[in-house]
Amino acid sequence: MPEKPYEQHDSVGLVKTQYYTFAEPPEELLLTCGKLIGPITVAYETYGKLSPAADNAILIFHALTGDAHAAGYHSPNDKNPGWWDNMIGQGKPFNTSRYFIICANYLCGCKGTTGPSSINPRTNQPYGLGFPMVTITDMVTVQKQLIDHLGIKKLLAIAGGSMGGMLALEWVTRYPESVRSACIIASTSRLSPQAIAFDAVGRNAIISDPNWNNGDYYGKPLPRHGLAIARMIGHITYLSDESMHAKFGRRLQFRDTYGYDFSSEFEVESYLHYQGDRFVERFDANSYLYITKAMDYFDLAASKGNGSLTKAFENVLAKMLVVSFTSDWLFPPYQSKEIVKALMNNDKDVSYVEIFSTYGHDAFLLEVEHLSNIINSFLSNLALEIS
């Protein structure tokens, strides 16, 4: 009998999400927007073992719609492993026989960490729009509490793609003493107006869904159409012209000739519908609104450098690795280069790799071999410095 996926030697196997609750009233957390929130529960997973000196911890950041489940399987019947399973495990770049890997769901998410779908203890109802606006800064504040709780003073590395890279950038500027190295993959120090525009259309789709009902839809019909459209738009921005040609072309689904009607005829249409429909099963529309808004607000130069990205990076101590993908037009290479340039202006230790890929923004999850090699090289050198 072939071994089950979770039994494979390089899999982290069966894992469980854990929870940490803090900021119990009256010790609530003060957010960037000026409002208080508490208690906060953080959902997180860990893989590997923390060393006695607590110096082998790596914090991984998920992307917009990801979660704490980065590797392994929750149950023997799970079809799919965690979202970054091909990078985390024994002998993989984030080697669990050497490192202690942590991944936590973000504040205002819907995957176990407190968010708009959580119960507000004051009303005993879901927060809905009563949830305060959250920034990337707030998300990182919450993560720092978790890392402190785990007894880790200094993270060996932090790594994240896309929105996850934003959190990594916030970490290295906010807690320079607590991060030894950082990998920023397909990310940016601020979204382009084009990216904000796509986020805005996605949010509009949700808000225009009659079922959204000002965010008060829990226990009622969900704003499925709006959320599905938001996801469809998202998926367009994750692909590239070239990858769409390769993946779908102009092919029709289930037929050879045009039907001259408005059904989903083209393969690319049915792909987007499929992605949209699947997404509404696993994601909360309000969380989508809050998180995309937090990404839109993120601007490291403005928040930490009076408009200068170079100034924002003045205090960085971490060894930095910045990776971009040539066909990524959502988080384009020029934005990664801006980060690198600003770090170099400060004489910081930074390397930049621009991977040739036709996959668009999705490349950060698909170009596994390239990314594995790069992260392997990066971490192997780091391990030398420590030992």
Binding site: V340, S351, V353, E354, I355, I374, S377, N381
Partner: protein, 208 residues
Amino acid sequence: MIAKKDSTFIYHADYERIIEHIKQGCKVLDLGCGTGELLYRLITEKNVHGRGVEINEQNILKCIGKGIPVFQGNIDEGLAEYQDQSYDYVILNQTLQVTHKPEFVLKEMLRVGKTVIVSFPNFGYLPIRLKMLFRGRMPITKTLPFEWYDTPNIRLLTIKDFRFFCELHDIKILREISITSRGGSLRFKAVANLAATEGLFFITKAAT
């Protein structure tokens, strides 16, 4: 501290000359840094603050593995990421002859570096001239080992050409080293263009 020379270590005469003349603890940018061999030696032997630019991903992985900060880029596109006069030395070692826009690249280097170090194979080397003269074909030598159709060396020049270029562009030659086929350096500048396989120049912008 002298780095250990392992079995894969290749002796580069130009490395020795460059390392010899670079001051302790200064800032160095190495363009076309390859696997980071020169930078690694400069960092370990001269304690420099070093950084590389390289186009090839495999080479970049090697640099990162050695802990050398490296930027993946094409130097023909310029040095937009680097500020004026922000490096003590900018090095272009055995790479000038493969650039598409050597004049632009040199200008960018002089903008970013206080001193620019350039080395290139000397096409005026006597055996090369003789090969051309007697065989009537493009010469193939140790420093220029390719056929005309597969060579990355698209800008062939002589030591004299480079001196002339500097004069024309108001570039001051601070030091000129002519390296011979045995890895030594020539004492007499007058015969360099005939006897040296490689030219190594330390240049800077002439004061205006």
